[in-house]
């Protein structure tokens, strides 16, 4: 069994789960009822994507433990009886074992910051899934194909909001500038390949030009500047996260950690 494929699948799952968790924080707090529903719909789409990837990762992990097959390094998160499951991977791994990009774990901030984070991620996810649809691994390709429709809408919805706020009032423009200042430093990591991405045969850097083209086009319409020469933060893909990650996991995992195996 291929440990890089397991790690890569977990990386895809973690990105979706952590952004879903962040967006879910808006539930009941959206600026207006309709947008509260929109952002939580997106959260649920992402949660669904993460479940598909976790289920596949769990299957790969469990298959790799069959006697006689090569032993993969444990990615953590073994559930009851040492069996991995979608739940054990989401609820029982530690911060260092999560492989999501730093961008998805950044705080919601105001609506501008949430919108910008969603747009930057969706524009990247769109290109990523579009490539993964042709991946040699059939399961990854199938999940990507299913997710691509959802992400197409996320990208559309968030880019319209970026334009609406950037080219809106002086106040909304100012807030978008602040959000760019806050988040841009986490975008470089999206295109720097982790060892497991390269080993899994995915060319991460190849997405950068198309992504920057898309972002530039939307920013131009939104009358927002594309930052240049910003120092890029990295580490998330390797499990070295920003200080926010621990709090997200505390929130997410509390119940299963406190009452192991609890269900309703």
């Amino acid at each position: 069994m291929n440990p890089s494929l397991i790690n890569y699948t977990l990386h895809l799952a973690d990105n979706a789960l952590i952004l879903a968790q962040r967006n879910a924080e808006w539930c009941g707090h959206g600026p207006i009822l309709e947008q509260d529903i929109a952002i939580t719909n997106i959260s649920l789409d992402l949660l669904g994507q993460s479940r598909n990837f976790y289920q596949y990762a769990a299957q790969l992990i469990n298959d790799s433990k069959i006697p006689g097959s090569s032993t993969a390094p444990a990615p953590g998160g073994e559930g009851v009886g040492g069996e991995a499951s979608e739940d054990s991977l989401a609820y029982l791994r530690t911060e260092r074992e999560f492989k999501n990009c730093l961008l998805v774990e950044q705080p919601n901030g105001d609506w501008a910051q949430t919108i910008l984070r969603q747009f930057l991620v969706s524009a990247w996810q769109y290109l990523l899934y579009e490539k993964l649809v042709h991946n040699s691994d059939e399961q990854i390709a199938a999940i990507a194909a299913k997710s691509l429709k959802e992400v197409t809408y996320h990208q559309r919805w968030s880019s319209e909001w970026v334009i609406r706020l950037g080219d809106g009032t002086a106040e909304s423009h100012e807030r978008m500038l602040k959000a760019i200042d806050e988040l841009w430093q986490y975008t470089g990591e999206l295109f720097i390949a982790a060892d497991y991405e390269t080993a899994a045969g995915f060319d991460t850097a190849s997405l950068k030009d198309s992504w920057l083209k898309k972002v530039t086009a939307v920013f131009e319409e939104a009358t927002l500047p594309v930052p240049e020469k910003v120092f890029m933060q990295t580490g998330g893909k390797q499990g070295v996260h920003t200080e926010y990650m621990g709090y997200i996991l505390a929130d997410l995992q509390y119940l299963q950690r406190t009452y192991p195996g609890a269900s309703w």
Partner: protein, 126 residues
């Protein structure tokens, strides 16, 4: 004889409170003082071949956002395959005070229902 035409809005809301003009979404400080989003009526077609049916209303800044909000609010459980939106202020409604003269005269004219014919079974539902 002069005839005075008074426009009535959807839901018979008096004109000064009607949709599409000045709706303040429930006192939400985060919207600031400019928080006035027009009201839109939403029509959803549940499947091909059926009519668009009125399902409710929502607030949005423009038609594009109204379609997207309608998609998120009214079709998230697979309720539809097509959406129409129209700003509420463009819907003219009949006056409820005139219900007597408009609708009641039809009450005793049962012969207008096609129930006095014997339909062959082959016709099926009409």
């Amino acid at each position: 004889m002069s005839f005075q035409f008074r426009k009535h809005y959807y839901g018979d809301i008096p004109e000064d409170n009607a949709g599409g003009t000045e709706i303040k979404p429930a006192s939400n400080p985060s919207l600031g003082s400019g928080g006035t989003w027009p009201l839109w009526e939403v029509f959803v077609r549940s499947k091909q071949g059926l009519d668009h049916k009125h399902v409710g209303s929502l607030h949005a800044t423009d038609a594009v956002m109204a379609i997207e909000n309608a998609r998120d609010v009214y079709t998230r459980r697979q309720e539809g395959v097509s959406i129409w939106v129209v700003e509420s202020k463009y819907i003219t409604a009949s006056n409820p005070d005139e219900a007597g003269e408009l609708y009641e005269p039809a009450a005793d004219k049962i012969y207008r229902h096609p129930t006095f014919y014997d339909l062959p079974d082959e016709v099926g539902h009409m």
